[in-house]
């Protein structure tokens, strides 16, 4: 993979312009096809029977009456999903999460599914399925799950990484630690030490479109699936494994997506739809209700975090420590470890340590949520930075600037940083008019930083020039945040044509090689890189065709402004050939014009952002109103600034909801109490001010145009920025997210004694 360093500083023609989005009209007129819009002749309706218990042994399932109901075409249990995972425990966990095998691990865990001619029949069939449960004690809170006497979920989980080595099974699945220096010595050098504990509650990504898929499996084993997903190739691979299919037999087409944010990087119901279709020999559509989305898909972790920080009076942080405890839901993962890696990553400390403890509990399997694990860690760490700054009488922003990581800093997760952007975002915040604006009564201001690892991954693009000279681009990375517009801009820039002459589609899994899913802020970063290389390859093809047409050497032809141009004195009279000219004569010059690119877009570069929040808190009700909000982040190069601003604003809006209202509430019976948007309140337009943005453009040397991923970092600082603002408005340190009105009132009353 080549990089043209000159392009990092080149003057662009269409990159950076705010062209109309290609999916805009279809989305606002209802023409766009989302997951539930797929239909096939003869399709059946699928519904899933789910456990009402958070933890129980399945003693027996009787589906005989349901199978006999007129209109029911298939009923499945785990017996219809044999284990093809060949010893891969991670894949077996995915299978077991899709359909419980011997035990149920959370309220909502699937135990059976039916496919029937209509929804009424399917509902009636669910009522005819009898499940005999042996109810077990349950645990839903992370600190309880870590206790030695906690109800045990799995007998095969023994703590990894613990010292001394663990030998007995427990819910505590992993220990890890990061850092350098000697924190004990560092704390001895401190003039001031602050210690505090923080908690964040479990939240859902809150995408508006519920999960939906339409599966059709033929008797010969060939299958098709239309699904709402962030990664149809990954869905294809995983479903094929779990169904015992060859991957090439399963063709998956991704629908438009009504939000994902990490929650649609995992399969939940798709294997059930495929298994039902295989058994019924009919197409099967399975669409989750909102309640199912909350109860049975993957929210982010609930956390409990301790922080200790020490500093000298001049603002030098001498030592920093954090212990992060995250619940992964009912199957093991490393979410706390990722929190530990990101926790102190914005700073340059001599002595720093973070340790993580991951635990399983009787909650749904945790999924990624936009910069997974980082927002909770930032909430605790940034509050600690704010608190110690005030304790030594220093402006918190100045403390951050003084201790900010920079090129050459040994990061808290290990490697030494190359050029990074935390310093410029902090300086931009310091100089932003927002920081100088006066504050009204009962209003506070909070500033916080955030860090995230971006990545690239496997990416394919096929570019084809049509006979009329326009261009189609097929990409395998799902368009979640506007990548089709950015890809069209990139191809237009390379070919020298108008944006309107390039159409980008997301191709199905039988049309391209494997593509990683759209996560890790990789969509535009990696697929635009592949599109640029595909366009350059197509230009070479078109130059070759011009060479044949003119019967002159290839080296005598350059590509400029959408035309092949002959160079040199001997060819000076040749009129340039446009793409239309070359495409129209393609048959006579060797055949169709195409450019391909299959790449691994590694080394995406880490990302930083700084947010400023103003919050008014009503001291009588505890209600918080965001009165002003500013996001500052480095985009490398904003290919389509409106989309970049949208990512910044969307991340901030989600983070504000997480900070103020969103929360999974479990009853003593282990059942989720609020699986609906009425009781699980995400912010709506009237809750939010205009969210201002400042795009910094510090080119990424590892992308041809200098682009960085921007999708995830915007959600990292808001929990901290809003909580610090509320702390400044109330005079009480806020340590528990979300800061709902009752929680704020309780904190104020406790503080006042």
């Amino acid at each position: 993979m080549s990089m043209d360093a000159d392009l990092v500083t080149k003057k662009f023609k269409v990159i950076g312009t705010r062209v109309a989005r290609p999916d805009g009209i279809d989305k606002v007129t209802g023409r766009a096809r989302f997951g539930a819009d797929a239909t096939m002749p003869g399709q059946l309706v699928a519904l899933v029977l789910r456990s009402p218990h958070p933890h129980a042994i399945i003693k027996k399932i009787d589906i005989s009456k349901a199978e006999k109901l007129v209109g029911v075409k298939a009923v499945i249990t785990s017996a219809d999903l044999p284990d093809y995972t060949n010893g891969d425990r991670g894949m077996l966990d995915i299978l077991e999460n899709c359909m419980a095998r011997h035990k149920v691990y959370y309220d909502g865990h699937a135990v059976a599914a039916v496919a029937a001619v209509d929804v009424t029949t399917a509902r009636a069939a669910l009522k005819l399925i009898k499940v005999d449960y042996q109810i077990l004690p349950h645990v839903t809170h992370v600190d309880d799950a870590l206790k030695a006497d906690s109800p045990l979920l799995h007998t095969h989980i023994v703590t990894q990484g613990a010292s001394p080595e663990a030998t007995e099974p427990s819910n505590y699945n992993k220990y890890a630690e990061y850092g350098h220096g000697n924190i004990e010595l560092g704390f001895k050098d401190a003039d001031v030490i602050i210690e505090r504990s923080y908690k964040t509650e479990q939240t859902h990504q809150g995408y508006i479109e519920p999960h939906s898929c339409l599966a059709s499996v033929s008797p010969d084993g060939a299958a098709e699936m239309w699904v709402c997903t962030q990664g149809h190739f990954v869905y294809r691979n995983q479903c094929a494994t779990l169904l015992g299919l060859d991957a090439n037999k399963l063709r998956v087409t991704a629908s438009e997506i009504g939000g994902g944010f990490g929650g649609k990087t995992h399969i939940w119901a798709e294997p059930l739809a495929l298994a039902l279709s295989r058994k019924a020999n009919r197409p099967v559509k399975l669409t989750m209700s909102r309640e199912e989305v909350f109860r049975c898909t993957g929210p982010t972790s609930a956390t409990s975090i301790n922080v200790k920080i020490g500093a000298k009076k001049d603002g030098t942080v001498t030592a920093a420590f954090a212990e992060l405890r995250y619940t992964s839901g009912c199957f093991p993962s490393n979410w706390a470890e990722f929190g530990a890696m990101t926790a102190w990553a914005c700073y340059d400390f001599k002595n720093v340590k973070s340790v993580s403890k991951d635990a399983v509990s009787n909650r749904p399997k945790t999924a990624a949520y936009r910069a997974p694990s980082a927002p909770m860690a930032a909430f605790a760490i940034e509050n600690a930075m704010d608190e110690i700054a005030k304790a030594i009488g220093m402006d918190p922003l100045e403390l951050r600037i003084k201790n900010a990581a920079k090129e050459g800093t040994k990061s808290s997760y290990g490697p030494v940083y190359g050029p990074i952007g935390i310093g410029p975002t902090l300086e931009a915040a310091k100089n932003h008019p927002h920081m100088k604006a006066p504050l009204a009564k009962n209003t506070g201001r909070g500033v916080a930083c955030g860090f995230w690892f971006n990545f690239g991954g496997q990416t394919c693009v096929d570019l084809n020039v049509t006979p009329d000279g326009t261009t189609t681009v097929a990409v395998g990375t799902m368009d979640v945040g506007g990548s089709r517009a950015s890809l069209a801009l990139a191809v237009a820039e390379e070919l020298g044509v108008a944006y309107k002459d390039v159409r980008v589609i997301v191709a199905d899994t039988s049309s391209l090689g494997h593509n990683d899913m759209t996560d890790g802020s990789r969509g535009t970063f990696s697929s635009s890189m592949a599109a640029i290389f595909a366009a350059r390859n197509a230009i070479t093809v078109m130059r070759q065709k011009a060479a044949k047409t003119w019967e002159i050497p290839l080296d005598d032809i350059v590509w400029e402004d959408g035309h092949a141009k002959a160079t040199g004195a001997s060819h000076g009279n040749l009129a340039p050939l446009s793409i239309k000219d070359i495409a129209g004569n393609a048959g006579a010059t060797g055949g169709p014009i195409a450019g391909h690119s299959e790449i691994v877009a590694d080394n995406a570069g880490v990302s930083f952002g700084t947010h400023i929040a103003d919050c008014h808190v009503d001291p009588e009700t505890g209600q918080t109103k965001i009165t002003r909000y500013t996001v500052i982040q480095d985009a490398g190069k904003a290919m389509h600034p409106s989309y970049v601003e949208g990512q910044y604003q969307g991340g901030a809006a989600q983070g504000i909801g997480w900070a103020l209202n969103e929360e999974y509430v479990y009853g003593a019976n282990g059942r989720l109490q609020n699986p609906a948007f009425l009781d699980y309140r995400i912010p709506v337009c009237s809750d939010l001010p205009f969210i201002d943005t400042q795009i910094l453009e510090i080119p990424n040397p590892h992308h041809p145009y200098g682009v960085r991923g921007v999708g995830e970092t915007p959600i990292v600082p808001p929990l901290a920025a809003v909580s610090i603002a509320v702390t400044n408005a109330t005079g009480v340190r806020m340590t528990h997210i979300p800061m709902s009105p009752p929680r704020i009132l309780k904190a104020i009353k406790t503080h006042r004694g």
Binding site: Q160, T265, A368, P415, V416, F453, G520
Partner: protein, 82 residues
Amino acid sequence: MSIEVHLWGALRPMVGGALSISVEAKTIRELFRVLSNQYPGMEPHIKRGVAVAIDGKIYRDQWDTELPETAEIYLLPRVPGG
């Protein structure tokens, strides 16, 4: 060519607790092969996914990437995204 490879916490028990080890390898692919042979306990981690930071640049997939003798080499967990 011998390079110094720094390990994250989960890998250290497989090398007796050392923070770093010296390995003969010119590329990421060769590094993973040598580590799997010399420290069998690392193989499951490598199969699940290990990222390699070379002078702070994080590589997750490009196993052909060369490991300069003077570079800082760090093994890290493969972080997911959302």
